[in-house]
Amino acid sequence: MFNVESNQNEISIEMSAELDNLDVADDAFTEFVQNKKVDVDLFSLRIIFRESTLNAVAHGSLKDPTKIVKIISQINEKHISLEVIDYGEGFDWASRIDKIDPMAESGRGLALMKIYSDKMSYNEIGNHIFLEKNFISVASEVCK
């Protein structure tokens, strides 16, 4: 299952928790951002999109295709916000965020999101992440 809706300043995606949907979601999100012609570091934005959605699908939902992951991104005058929600049990993100072993084979996604976003937080149980990426300069075509 994959549904996407967008309007002037918002894109929302609901999808089943399957790895193949991550590429489809990234493509839809990237196209949405590119069409807005905002001055943003697209690579950084795609990294945080990729890692937040991957965590929600692979860890939050254990790749269970009967589970749903929701993604909401909004553009305002200064930044793009990104929320990713899963319906899993969450995780103890606060204790893990600063313990990154560069040569470990997993656990790198949190570090990447922290480095490449301008703001990052979770809800208390850790199944709803909030991220922001600031524009390099304020775009004129958005939010008129």
Binding site: D20, L22, D23, I47, R50, E105, S106, R108, I115
Partner: protein, 103 residues
């Protein structure tokens, strides 16, 4: 997903498109088959790759560890400054070579 070619005693591998969670198992399998087949000098050329994620990066780490066990080396070749930055912020360039095409 990738092409492999022997050049100057090293096996050059040139994946294309995305190295991300959805397709990474096959990529990992193909690389480890090369290592198990006796290749010790492996060069992964990322110049046809559009996007990487943490699962893709993990494959390079697995590959690097397998090569090290055999006394070999991994090199990553990319002219993409974003990718170079990604390896740098993850401090992976301290463990294996990350360089541009002409370096």
């Amino acid at each position: 997903m990738l092409t492999a070619e022997k050049k100057d005693n090293a096996m050059w591998v040139r994946p294309s498109g995305k190295i991300t969670a959805a397709g990474v198992d096959e990529f990992r399998k193909e690389l480890l088959e090369l290592v198990e087949g006796g290749e010790t000098e492996l060069v992964i050329d990322l110049n046809d790759v559009d996007i990487l994620d943490s699962k893709g990066i993990a494959v390079f780490i697995v590959c690097h560890k397998s090569l090290k066990e055999k006394g070999g080396d991994l090199s990553i070749v990319t002219d993409n400054e974003d990718f170079k930055g990604l390896f740098r912020v993850m401090r992976l360039d301290e463990h294996f070579t990350v360089r541009g095409s002409n370096e």
